[in-house]
């Protein structure tokens, strides 16, 4: 339908033409019967009939709202006999409609309805409201449905205290807000209503229980009244759901695997489960793992732990759990025992008590519990020998107790103190193992070479006239240890929680051998010097005079008697440090002495979140003598400074992470050849959005130097231990999702390059071998999802290492190249009850020995029931080494040379079964 708007000048022209037509003889008529009325908002078809012999050139319907100056026009369509045109529904309003029908014939003859001066006297059509609608009268029915009722919903049940009346006028711009009136239960409350940017809100306070009604009266910007908005709601008590008193859920998973790698077989059976019970005011969670790898000859692989939570303020852990007090004490290492975590709002208490390691008496097999130390064999005066039998393969039970008290004041200041004590139990290891076997070879004379128990060996030596020394303690291997850590932390939040500052300080006492127990004050006197003179460290010359400059600490000044605190920490000469602090420097430089205590570890961290920036400035120092048995992965004798910023740009689509880290071991001034590591890093991640490519670029430059400037002499040789190198690590990754017809695919490209540079290359001798390896990796992956729900992943990658080596006097780089191809697929079948999966892989290795590995993997996942699933997976890999074919060597040690078993053999074979039940 083509609509044109006729302007006033055009109306004058057309009217003049009509006048001329009438003036010069419009002798033909059109027949049109106007409808009695039009229905507001509904389309109306008008029909006209021409009595002319010839067809009209143009037949047009002109219409307008009463009072308008312009006409809209719609062409008539010839339906055969009649000419038809439809008035659109929006044109029929309560105000009625004016229209004209005009037929144009050849020689500019025009025929119209009405006949006389139609554009000044168009036909007026009255309109009526649709059936079923109330008589609108002067109301306009357009706006009320555009007003959104936000709260409460019609007929909604609301709590007495939760009533909020709110509507949104977002979708209409015709309401005159100054005319809005709100009635609650027929009482006007307009004065208490707030209207802000098209949002009406009213808080009626507490209402009586029952049905209430709301009515909003308003007018439009033309002053016309709009149909009132009315709805009811109910005030009452919302139902409190009485939940089941006890709810529970859990999972049980059973796994069986049988794998052979080379000549080694590994068969494992495992059951893993977790179980939760919720009684509303308390919750119990239990985790369990039972595995066939459990062995009395090693630390436990089984796990059983229960966590009990009461009301959100008390957590109790029993069995195996993973406490975290701080990074410098214990940070997630498994403890078997008891843990309590109480959050009393102003005070937080954390307590742990249990064992880090369990006692292990011996290792499996011969020489698992005892071992003859031949170099400790001593000859006796009578010509016989005394052989030394050492206890071996054992681990002491290591107990741990920790306590941390902390407080958070007004969410601004947090402070805490902690103490962690760890000690090996020397009584946990059996002194004598009656059944442990050990091997005696020809170095033990006069008795047959064989495996013996302790009793058998004693008897055999007795018969041969020799003796045995088998001590019951102070064994040569592992020593029992003791460790005590004290510390505190303090932190604050600044600038409206955008800046946090934390300081954490700890001091450790470590005793690497507590066999001898605690030493007394008199033993302390002679700990450093040999004189029992009431002074520690005071030494004398040959004439008995004091040597100036030697340490001189009065034993009577020692506040703590070691024997009184032995339950807390065992002090003896094996203690590190013997004196925690440099006493000579303490008086002159107390702060530096305390901060640089060899057995201290501290960290100061400043973190800020400002305008898309996440800033971090951190300094951490761990002294050379700082030890935490609860966190054995802590690297001591390090100082590390880090500064970094993570910036979010382009509305969290672009992330930039830049930073610098310096690491060295120059805590002590006496450190020879300290090693400095400077790392500059940058990471750029660009996420365009859902179903769009993703780009990641990572760059790291790691510079290492040991400040050595000269060569070292080792014996008669000169060796170059100087280090000044730089490693540049570059990684780039792009992931592109795309669709090919009905196929959804994702392509990923990754490249990694590591290049090492020796900054001293020009100063090195020609024979120097720079040992660092350059590497390059590139990989491409294409994953596809087919309409049939088949998923495939195709991968191709290549890694190249150039390993420096020496060929005679020549330095060369030996390339090792691995090329990997794989294709994997999985598909749901049988109404998604079974998932079939498989993969094929090929690895080509090119180096001094060329080989190829072909791998096949296949399996099924079964959904037996809603809660019961099972899976089976098998895999096999084959080696192919063509270079072994004619090398005239027995490469596999089977006694045959160049047989087929050397060239082609099974690398690994395995099958895994898994069943899981959820309840």
């Amino acid at each position: 339908m083509i609509k044109k708007i006729i302007s006033r000048p055009q109306v004058i022209i057309i009217s003049f033409l009509f006048f001329l037509c009438n003036l010069y003889g419009q002798t033909r008529l059109i027949h049109h019967t106007p409808p009695p009325y039009g229905v507001i908002g509904q389309e109306l078809k008008l029909v006209a009939l021409s009595f002319e012999v010839i067809e009209p050139i143009d037949a047009t319907l002109y219409y307008r709202l009463p009072g308008s100056k312009s006409f809209l026009e719609i062409p008539f369509k010839n339906s055969g006999i009649n000419w038809e045109a439809s008035l659109p529904g929006f044109s029929l309003t309560a105000e009625g409609l004016e229209y004209i029908i005009a037929f144009q014939f050849s020689r500019d003859r025009l025929v119209s309805f009405p006949r006389e001066d139609p554009f000044n006297n168009p036909y007026y059509l009255t309109t009526v409201p649709p059936k079923g609608q109330k008589k609108i009268g002067m109301f306009n029915n357009l706006y009320s449905e555009d007003i959104l009722i936000l709260s409460p919903e019609p007929n909604e049940l609301v709590n007495q205290e939760s009533v909020l009346i709110a509507t949104s006028f977002f979708n209409t711009d015709k309401v005159d807000f100054s005319t809005v009136q709100l009635f609650l239960d027929d009482l006007e409350v307009t004065n208490s209503v707030l209207i802000e940017e098209g949002i009406l809100t009213y808080d009626p306070g507490i209402l009586t229980i029952g049905i209430h009604s709301i009515q909003i009266l308003m007018k439009d910007i033309d002053g016309e009244s709009i149909i009132p908005l009315k709805w009811d709601f109910i005030v009452g008590t919302e139902r409190i759901e009485i939940l089941d008193l006890v709810t529970y859920n859990g999972r049980l998973n059973s796994r069986l695997s049988s794998e052979k790698l080379g000549r080694t077989s590994l068969n494992i059976a495992e059951v893993i489960g977790d179980f939760s019970v919720d009684v509303q005011w308390a919750k119990l969670n239990t985790d369990l793992r039972l595995t066939s790898r459990e062995s009395p000859y090693s630390q436990p692989n089984n796990r059983l732990g229960t966590a009990f939570s009461i009301g959100g303020f008390l957590d109790v852990n029993m069995g195996d759990f993973y406490p975290q007090l701080s990074r410098f004490t214990i940070d997630g290492k498994r403890v078997r025992g008891l843990g309590i975590d109480a959050d009393l709002k102003w005070l937080k208490v954390q307590f742990i008590n249990g064992e880090l390691n369990r006692a292990v008496q011996e290792k499996a097999g011969v020489n698992g519990g005892y071992n003859i130390l031949y170099d400790l064999t001593t000859p006796n005066e009578d010509g016989s020998k005394t052989y030394y039998l050492d206890r071996t393969g054992f681990s002491f039970k290591r107990k741990i107790t920790g306590l941390r008290l902390s407080t958070d004041l007004f969410s601004k200041l947090n402070m805490g103190v902690h103490l962690v004590k760890t000690r090996d139990d020397t009584t946990s290891v059996n002194r004598i193992l009656d059944n442990a076997k050990f091997y005696s070879d020809t170095l033990v004379q006069n008795i047959p070479v064989s495996n013996y128990t302790l009793e058998e060996f004693k008897n055999a030596l007795l018969l041969s006239g020799d003796t045995l020394l088998a001590p019951n303690s102070h064994w040569k291997g592992q020593k029992p240890k003791d460790n005590l850590i004290l510390g505190f932390n303090i932190g604050t939040v600044l600038d409206n929680q955008k800046l946090t500052l934390d300081f954490d300080w700890n001091m450790s006492l470590y005793n690497r051998n507590i066999w001898d127990g605690v030493m007394s004050i008199s033993e302390l006197d002679t700990a450093i010097d040999d004189s029992l003179d009431g002074y520690i460290g005071l030494t004398y010359d040959g004439d008995g005079k004091e040597i100036s400059g030697s340490t001189k600490i009065k034993t009577s000044d020692i506040l703590i008697d070691p024997e009184n605190i032995q339950s807390l920490f065992i002090m003896n000469t094996n203690m590190t440090p013997l004196v925690p602090i440099d006493l000579t420097a303490l008086s002159s430089n107390p702060i530096s002495s305390i901060i640089n205590m060899p057995s201290s570890a501290f960290k100061i961290k400043l973190r800020g979140n400002y305008s898309r920036n996440s800033l971090l400035v951190e300094y951490q120092q761990i002294g050379p003598e700082y030890v935490s048995l609860g966190n054995p992965f802590l690297r001591n004798n390090t100082r590390q400074f880090t500064i970094s910023d993570r910036i979010s740009l382009l509305d969290q689509k672009l992330f930039l992470n830049i930073g610098f880290k310096h690491l060295d071991n120059k805590i002590l001034k006496t450190t020879v050849s300290p090693l400095n590591t400077n790392t500059l890093f940058m990471n750029l991640t660009f996420l365009l959005g859902l179903n769009m490519p993703t780009f990641v670029f990572n760059y790291q430059s790691i510079g290492k130097n040991n400040e050595k400037t000269s060569l070292d002499s080792v014996g008669s040789k000169t060796i170059d231990f100087r280090e000044d190198s730089k490693a540049a690590n570059t990684m780039f990754s792009v992931s592109i999702p795309f669709t090919s017809g009905s196929l959804k695919q994702n392509f990923t490209l990754n490249t990694v390059n590591i290049n090492n540079l020796d900054n001293l290359i020009k100063k090195r001798s020609e024979s120097y071998l720079f040992p660092k390896t350059d590497s390059k990796t590139i990989s491409m992956t294409l994953s596809s999802l087919f309409p049939s729900q088949l998923k495939t992943v195709a991968l191709i990658s290549q890694t190249r290492l150039d390993i420096p080596s020496r060929l005679g006097n020549q330095l060369i780089k030996i390339p090792y190249i691995w090329t990997h191809l794989s294709l994997s697929a999985n598909k749901q079948i049988l109404e998604e009850k079974i998932k079939a999966k498989g993969s094929l892989s090929f690895l080509n290795s090119k180096s001094q020995i060329n080989s190829k590995v072909l791998g096949l993997r296949a399996g099924f996942d079964f959904r037996i029931q809603e809660n019961l699933t099972a899976s089976i997976t098998s895999q096999v890999r084959f080696n192919y080494r063509p270079s072994f074919n004619k090398d005239k060597l027995d490469n596999d040690g089977d006694g045959q040379i160049d047989n087929s078993g050397e060239v082609f053999d099974m690398n690994s074979l395995g099958i895994i079964l898994n069943i899981q039940y959820n309840f």
Binding site: L150, T247, G689, L690
Partner: protein, 222 residues
């Protein structure tokens, strides 16, 4: 006096000029919740509070906030210990809605969006919907999305993997880049503190006789 009125008028003018769009209203609040607007300090959220584009909402322990967008009544229900930024660009006919969820749990009942998707971003994932109902739980290590109705396109921003989450499915997106979906365990669906679970309504009417004895009539209806 005239000068005073001119100054006040100018203040209002500049406030309107530089103030952000108002996009959502709080219809229910339980416990404590706070909001931060621009560089201002934290203020408590009250019933009827109107959120502007860019406001940061934080709920304390035990806190719950239900809010509605004013253009189409898209509902957000934010549970305790959550922190999110509410964004919405007002256009003529709709508001382009986006939520940045730093941590916590929220339920979104999204009405059919005409033009732009409703987007929720977390440090690890992006959920994009046109009209649906789902829960999103975000913590330091992973995000879980539980589909209740409709379809959500769930993206892990570290690996670029996407998955569609529909009714009865749960998606887990981890900070290591992994993304998986599996059947929802009903016991993991968080409790919505603003609705009656089975949809039944209850009317309680309390009666008191002349002697002061009270009895309550409970009418359960749908």
């Amino acid at each position: 006096m005239i000068l005073y009125k001119i100054i006040i008028a100018n203040i209002f003018f500049f406030t309107i000029l530089f103030g952000e769009d108002r996009i959502a209203i709080t219809t229910k609040i339980i416990g404590k919740a706070y909001y931060v607007r621009g560089n201002n300090s934290e203020l408590p959220v009250t019933k009827g509070h109107i959120f502007e584009n860019g406001d940061i909402l934080t709920t304390s322990k035990g806190g719950f906030v239900a809010l509605l967008y004013i253009d189409d009544k898209t509902a957000l229900k934010v549970k305790e210990n959550s922190k999110l930024t509410i964004s919405g660009k007002r256009a003529a006919k709709s508001i382009a809605k986006e939520i940045k969820l730093d941590r916590g749990t929220l339920r979104a009942i999204v009405k059919k969006q005409n033009q732009n998707d409703f987007i929720i971003r977390t440090p690890v994932s992006v959920a994009s919907v046109k009209g649906t109902d789902f829960w999103l739980i975000s913590n330091k290590t992973n995000d879980s999305i539980i589909g209740l109705e409709g379809k959500i396109a769930f993206l892990n921003i570290l690996s670029g993997e996407t998955v569609d989450i529909t009714i009865g499915k749960t998606g887990i997106s981890s900070s290591e880049g992994s993304l998986q979906s599996f059947k929802t365990d009903p016991s993991t669906i968080p409790e919505d503190l603003s609705v009656d679970i089975n949809g039944d309504q209850i009317l309680e009417i309390e009666f008191e006789n002349a002697s002061g004895k009270k009895k309550t009539l409970i009418i359960k209806y749908k």
